[in-house]
């Protein structure tokens, strides 16, 4: 019995923050239209990686529900998206959750945390091809963030707190 408790603890911890508290069984039954989520391969995602709107600064964060440091920094991206929306800043959260966990983990997570930023899923196994296209220096670790507008582009393979994130974004908006 003691062992069982230990095993359960280990399993729960292995799912990282936040996501582990979700009762996915209950929530997946609620398959509502607002629950729909765009799932892209890299080619399809690429339109998000080059300026659509010349006035805008885009903040693209690569994350996953199973990535604890990613989940930790999500509120900062949400805060940024809210606070800087009238400064032409748009946050897009690119989830790298496993496709088979979209229904069981990602959607319940999004619902529970009521994320305001646009969330899309990148499902493309050929990472050796697409990772260097996002940034040639990216080793592939997440969290990772790309900030760009029509004038410049910067890539960060690291975690942020709100202040650090805001400082970076401020360099893009004049």
């Amino acid at each position: 019995m003691k062992h069982m408790a230990l095993i359960i603890t280990i399993v729960l911890m292995s799912f990282g923050n936040g996501a582990s508290q979700i009762n996915s069984f209950e929530e997946t039954h609620l398959d509502r239209p607002d629950n729909s989520l765009k799932v892209f391969n890299f080619e399809e995602l690429q339109s998000y990686l080059s300026a659509k709107d010349a006035k805008k600064t885009y903040v693209i964060n690569f994350w996953a529900t199973w990535c604890a440091p990613c989940v930790k920094e999500l509120p900062y991206f949400e805060q940024l998206n809210t606070k800087y929306s009238n400064h032409n800043v748009e946050v897009i959260l690119v989830s790298l959750d496993f496709p088979k966990q979209i229904e069981t983990k990602l959607k319940p997570f999004l619902k529970k945390n009521a994320l305001k930023s646009e969330v899309v899923v990148l499902d493309d196994v050929d990472s050796n091809t697409w990772i260097p296209k996002v940034n040639k220096n990216w080793s592939g670790a997440i969290p990772a963030t790309l900030i760009y507008n029509k004038d410049k582009k910067a890539f960060y393979e690291r975690s942020f707190n709100y202040k650090e994130l805001e400082t970076e974004v401020k360099q893009f908006i004049k």
């Binding site: 280990i10 911890m13 196994v125 050929d126 990772i131 990216w138 080793s139 670790a141 393979e157 975690s159």
Partner: protein, 202 residues
């Protein structure tokens, strides 16, 4: 003139902040890897030097808690089964800070290795001294080393293969291709590859 200087300064500052974001300061292809002495799940200390007959090593930075690492567990075991006898054993190293990821502590590593029947050493990078030397940034992150007179030389860095989701749908077996090439004295066809992984927890 003053303005030109200012502009230059701004450009330099911009380059300094953007170009030198933390990118691997670790090994590149051709570098000589330093040996280590790390605790294995069986309580013994393991070094590359212990493997007198090895021609090289498949060093895999991996852990229990990263879904990508978990997706590759069976494939890492298969690599060891296939290549240990040919002179390229797998040495797995767990690089995470176990205070941050208790699911990667020694007890959990032992449990996982037992459950999965790992036949390779699964070492704890205690104090997190080894992974930065290699330049590993994530789990899983593979380094194929070939023994040379100068020491274990880095011949391959990167992913295990090109499909984390489905082992049966793999089209490129990067690590196998690297070791196969080394075994017949050829150049590694693709020496550096990239894959998504979990950042190493510090």
């Amino acid at each position: 003139m003053k303005n030109t200087f200012k502009t230059l300064l701004a450009i330099v500052a911009f380059i300094a902040t953007t170009a030198f974001t933390p990118v691997g300061t670790g090994y590149d292809i051709g570098d000589i890897a330093t040996d280590f002495e790390l605790e294995n799940i069986d309580g013994t200390m393991v070094s590359m030097a212990d493997f007198k007959d090895a021609k090289g090593f498949i060093v895999v930075f991996t852990c229990n808690t990263c879904p990508y690492a978990v997706a590759y567990e069976d494939r890492v075991e298969a690599l060891n089964k296939k290549y240990a006898d040919k002179g390229y054993p797998v040495i797995a190293i767990m690089p995470n800070n176990t205070d941050v990821k208790p699911g990667d502590n020694m007890a959990a590593m032992k449990a996982r290795a037992k459950a999965k029947g790992f036949t390779f050493p699964y070492l704890m990078d205690k104090g997190q001294k080894i992974y930065p030397q290699y330049g590993a940034t994530k789990t899983p992150h593979v380094y194929v080393l070939e023994k040379t007179k100068k020491g274990p030389q880095v011949k391959y860095i990167g992913a295990i293969d090109d499909n984390y989701k489905d082992a049966s749908a793999v089209t490129k077996t990067y690590v196998e291709d690297a070791v196969d090439a080394l075994l017949v004295g050829k150049e590694v066809p693709e020496a550096k590859t990239r894959a998504i992984g979990c950042s190493i927890k510090v």
